[in-house]
């Protein structure tokens, strides 16, 4: 979450004081992202240093000091709105690591590990849904933030469901005597392939890139 750009967005509506910015920030994010007043003033100082906002009043820091956005600030804000966040490199996801590790630890049933996490996620989703049912009904900002959380958690549950299905199928394939990984014999012509079929290098490839 860019506090810097959120403050620019609030100032694009007109000049505001520091405390006012804090209140409007929290209200605008459905009060899900708290912001302390020190963080507001530190950010405003940096924005002023970079020429993106100007202060008004007698130059003394304090609650009576107002801020307004500059032309450079407006351009910075527009540029930020139109720049997609970096979603290209997969984050090092702790849950993905736990599931991959669970596949290797002797005596561990990966499906039991998956279920512990699935239950936790669904319980968390139940809590967010309670908020949607009660407080978010009349608060569009809060409803949007809650939706974002629910979709994010839902995606993780779906991934766990997919892991469950793949692990079950791989076990059935092993019982039936066929290899779980894609058989190289099908790609006999691809003799130059550098792909390694073992689980660890594949896991590394999938999660190795970090932001």
């Amino acid at each position: 979450m860019s506090v810097r750009h959120a403050l620019l967005a609030l100032l694009s509506e007109g000049p505001k004081y520091g405390l006012q910015l804090r209140e409007e920030f929290e209200a605008g994010t459905g009060e899900v992202w708290p912001l302390n007043v020190g963080q507001v003033y530190t950010t405003l100082q940096r924005l002023e240093r970079d020429g993106l906002v100007e202060s008004e009043g007698d130059g003394q820091d304090g609650p009576q000091k107002g801020f307004l956005i500059t032309q450079a600030g407006r351009e910075e804000l527009t540029g930020w709105l139109l720049t997609p966040p970096d979603l290209a490199s997969p984050p090092r996801d702790e849950l993905v690591m736990k599931v991959l590790v669970a596949l290797r630890v002797p005596g561990t049933d990966v499906r039991d590990v998956i279920q512990v996490h699935r239950r936790y996620l669904v319980q968390l989703m139940q809590q967010w849904t309670r908020i949607k049912d009660t407080e978010a009904e009349s608060d569009l900002n809060l409803a949007l933030v809650v939706d974002a959380e629910l979709f994010r958690l839902d995606a993780v549950v779906r991934w766990l469901d997919a892991v469950d299905g793949r692990v079950k199928r791989a076990a059935a394939d092993r019982l039936a005597g066929s290899p779980a990984s894609p058989p190289d014999t099908k790609n006999a012509q691809d003799t130059n392939s550098t792909a390694v079929a073992g689980p660890l290098p594949r896991a590394r490839r999938r999660t190795g890139t970090r932001r």
Binding site: R119, Q126, T129, R130, I131, E135
Partner: protein, 240 residues
């Protein structure tokens, strides 16, 4: 449900769809049953709705043990006490929305005028008052499912059974469907919603997880929403 099992086929073709399932749903509660395809979710629902008998075990609805009821008594229970909501709505295309809603009451012998009053009241509660004389093909997907819910709760129903009730609806309409079922529960209905969708399941008071015909887990009562809205560090997840 107590020790409910359901077996299909015999010998090598034997399939154990449900295995010793215990499930309690109190009045006013919504329970979601989650599990992958083939985990026994739909079998559980059809047995709870007396549309199918268990191979063994006991099923009670409002105190009545289903396996001890005659066919006629079961049919009456289905008409009067249990409402069903299906993925594909199952509305009769030749009847208007209001006629679809009142059909179970009329089949049960309720006079047409009285049935219509009850039907229109149920539709009004679901925001369908101006759709009463529309035929199903004149309604949107979301409206059709609301009609189906009105049909499932009309009269004095006590148990609502829903199989993937948001079906192919988009997320906003799917949420509207869950809100309606949730509201019906607040009025005292018991509901069982079968789904593989965690967002829908999260409307339930309790989520039961089914795997290979067995209940393997369920959610604990969740802490209140305050824990997510209070400033400060979030609660850590398991093992983090």
């Amino acid at each position: 449900m107590r020790h409910v099992s359901r077996v299909y086929g015999q010998g090598a073709a034997k399939v154990q769809a449900l295995h010793e399932v215990d499930l309690d749903v109190d009045a006013g509660m919504m329970v979601a049953v989650m599990g992958p395809s083939g985990s026994g979710k739909s079998t559980l629902l059809t047995i709870a709705g007396s549309l199918e008998d268990p191979s063994s075990g006991e099923v009670r609805v409002c105190g009545e043990e289903l396996t001890k009821l005659s066919r006629n008594a079961k049919a009456r229970l289905r008409r009067q006490t249990i409402g069903y909501v299906f993925q594909d709505f199952n509305l009769l295309p030749g009847l208007t929305a209001a006629e679809n809603v009142t059909l179970p009451l009329e089949l049960d012998g309720v006079p047409a005028r009285k049935a219509r009053v009850a039907g229109l009241a149920a539709m009004a509660e679901l925001g369908l008052a101006d759709r009463a004389s529309h035929f199903p093909d004149m309604l949107s997907g979301g409206e059709r499912q609301r009609v189906a819910i009105a049909r499932a709760v009309v009269g004095d129903r006590r148990l609502l059974l829903a199989d993937e009730p948001s079906g192919a609806l988009d997320s906003v309409n799917g949420e509207a469907v869950m809100r309606l079922i949730h509201t019906a529960c607040k009025r005292g209905l018991a509901a069982v919603v079968v789904t593989h969708d965690a967002q829908l399941a999260s409307w339930a008071d309790r989520v039961v997880f089914l795997r290979d015909g067995r209940v393997t887990d369920q959610t604990m009562p969740a802490p209140g929403p305050e824990s997510l809205l209070t400033p400060g560090p979030r609660q850590p997840g398991p093992g983090q």
